[in-house]
């Protein structure tokens, strides 16, 4: 009989690291492409067209980096759900909801980056068309707060309950508030549909930069608690296997 | 009677209410008649609002028994943001 397969700790840790990696690479790509700091929605189509026509290859390169790196969001979402599942009982709804939220988010990330790539593909087209692609991308990107918030709410709920019922909680309590804070900072983004200038426009201080700061910080905070939880999980599993005979370990694994 | 914590809370509340009425009165009088230039009385009203937030923090939010770093962080907000707001009002 085969001995039970141990936890793939390395894979879990790698997925946890995908979160911070995503933030760093994604935003670097945006900076390289000149899209961060974000261009004002109030620019005329001609000005925007000029932007895309200048240093176009640099823009394309930066956007490609952002586009490709956005896939890193997926394993990060997945590893969060593995820990939520450990916190929950027989029906891990929060793990599923978090995962579903992440799937919604990735759609926005992939779609919006490809729209910018399309805009940069033929910058000689009519300025209004370029503007439309640019608007479509940035509006979608900044306003897709709803799917993120599902992730944050699921995580918060799971951690609250886990801390109530478990003797050794998997995540510490402070991560609850980081999730609440990040979700809350996005709420004001709904107003970006109404404004082209000011702090509530999609390049505004309150609609973009403040939430983006929390958004970035969230990845690092979550990666930190994830890494600790994964290491602890691996350690607990090793201790379990050491304590029992190999045959009995199979039974343990089945119920795990 | 002052030692009774319930009485303390009510007294702080009373002080906050009185200050609110005074600020409102000053605001009514100065806001309408003075037009659009910066007004020292209104700057004081703004500053007093931040003093009120400190009172809420100290007495309502129980910062009196909190560790020093937390008390400092809160007061840093009161003083930092308060001073910035008053300065922006007066000099922008």
């Amino acid at each position: 009989m085969r001995s039970p397969r141990p936890l793939d700790e390395a894979a879990l840790i790698m997925c946890a690291r995908c979160g911070p990696a995503f933030v760093l690479i994604f935003f670097s790509g945006l900076i390289i492409s000149g899209q961060f700091p974000v261009i004002s929605p109030n620019m005329t189509p001609e000005q925007l067209a000029t932007f895309y026509r200048t240093d176009t290859n640099m823009i394309r390169t930066g956007l490609l980096i952002s586009f490709v790196s956005s896939a890193l969001y997926l394993p990060f979402t997945a590893v969060i759900s593995t820990q939520l599942r450990r916190m929950e009982g027989s029906t891990p709804i929060l793990a599923y909801a978090q995962f579903a939220g992440g799937m919604g988010t990735i759609v926005a990330l992939l779609f919006t980056m490809s729209l910018l790539l399309i805009a940069a593909y033929r910058p000689e087209r009519a300025p209004e068309i370029t503007q439309m692609l640019h608007d479509a991308s940035w509006i979608t990107n900044v306003i897709t707060l709803n799917t993120y918030c599902i992730q944050y709410a699921a995580i918060a709920r799971a951690v609250i309950k886990d801390n109530e019922y478990s003797e050794e909680p998997i995540f510490p309590r402070w991560i609850i508030y980081i999730n609440y804070l990040t979700g809350l900072s996005f709420i004001i983004d709904v107003m970006l549909a109404f404004y082209r200038t000011g702090p509530f426009a999609w390049n505004g201080l309150l609609a973009l930069y403040v939430p983006a700061t929390f958004f970035g910080a969230w990845f690092f905070c979550m990666a930190h608690v994830l890494t600790k939880a994964i290491r602890r999980q691996a350690q607990l599993e090793r201790e379990q296997f050491q304590q029992v005979a190999p045959d009995a370990a199979v039974l343990l694994h089945a119920g795990y | 009677m002052l030692a009774n914590p319930r009485m303390q809370v009510v007294l702080v509340w009373l002080a906050l209410v009185v200050v609110t009425f005074v600020s409102w009165g000053v605001g009514l009088e100065h806001g309408v008649s003075r037009g659009t230039g910066p007004d020292v009385a209104m700057a004081v009203v703004l500053a007093v609002a931040f003093v009120k937030t400190q009172l809420v923090g100290t007495f309502f939010m129980e910062l009196r028994m909190a560790p020093l770093p937390l008390r400092l962080a809160f007061s840093a907000w009161v003083v930092g943001v308060g001073a910035t707001i008053v300065a922006m009002y007066l000099w922008l």
Partner: protein, 205 residues
């Protein structure tokens, strides 16, 4: 005689609680939340408001004139009083008088509901005369700042309901006092923000 010493014990118990040092009200996480929210969300709105006001002084003065200072005053008093009830509620929980605590938190919540009702009426009156968040810069700040604050009030009402239900339950939840303190801290923040918003929007502009 027995009643006197019991009352004395209650008062000294509360006194001891209030002079206890190095107790983080609630827990550190809620303070991270509250201070970040105050600093990065609302304070930036305050600053931006004054910045735009400097560019449009007469527009802002005109806008302010359409706001009811009386309503602003009443709303401030409502929130101050509801915060007071929250403090009394926490004290009651410490005194182990959970039914009194529930009453205090219910009062606080009712005042919060009154705030929401008045805000709805206030917004309604503005929409009725065609003033909306896109009318001009002043109204953008007025609606978005008070709107974001109102959103916090609504969350606060949910939080207070959770605290009320806990105080009414036959058996206290584990960590009931800590949860109540977390909720109280959030509610006081809501009060705090309005204390600054009121003079900024209604008196000064």
């Amino acid at each position: 005689m027995a009643g006197d010493s019991q009352r004395l014990a209650t008062i000294t118990g509360s006194l001891a609680a209030t002079t206890r040092a190095h107790h983080v009200p609630g827990e550190v996480g809620i303070w991270i939340f509250v201070l970040s929210d105050m600093l990065l969300e609302f304070s930036t709105i305050f600053g931006y408001f004054l910045h735009d006001r400097a560019a449009n002084p007469s527009q802002f003065a005109q806008g302010r004139a359409t706001l009811s200072q009386q309503l602003g005053l009443v709303n401030t008093l409502i929130l101050l009083t509801s915060s007071m009830f929250v403090v009394l509620g926490i004290q009651a929980l410490r005194d182990k008088d959970r039914s009194r605590a529930a009453r205090m938190f219910v009062w606080a919540r009712s005042l919060g509901l009154a705030f929401v009702a008045l805000k709805v009426l206030e917004y309604g009156a503005k929409f009725h005369v065609g003033l909306t968040p896109v009318t001009n810069s002043f109204y953008m700040f007025y609606f978005v700042a008070t709107g974001l604050h109102l959103f916090h009030v609504l969350i606060g009402l949910i939080v207070l309901t959770y605290v009320v239900n806990g105080a009414r339950a036959a058996q206290p939840r584990p960590n009931e006092l800590r949860s109540a303190e977390v909720g109280a801290t959030f509610w006081h923040m809501v009060d705090l923000i309005w204390i600054v918003l009121f003079p900024l929007l209604y008196l000064v502009a």
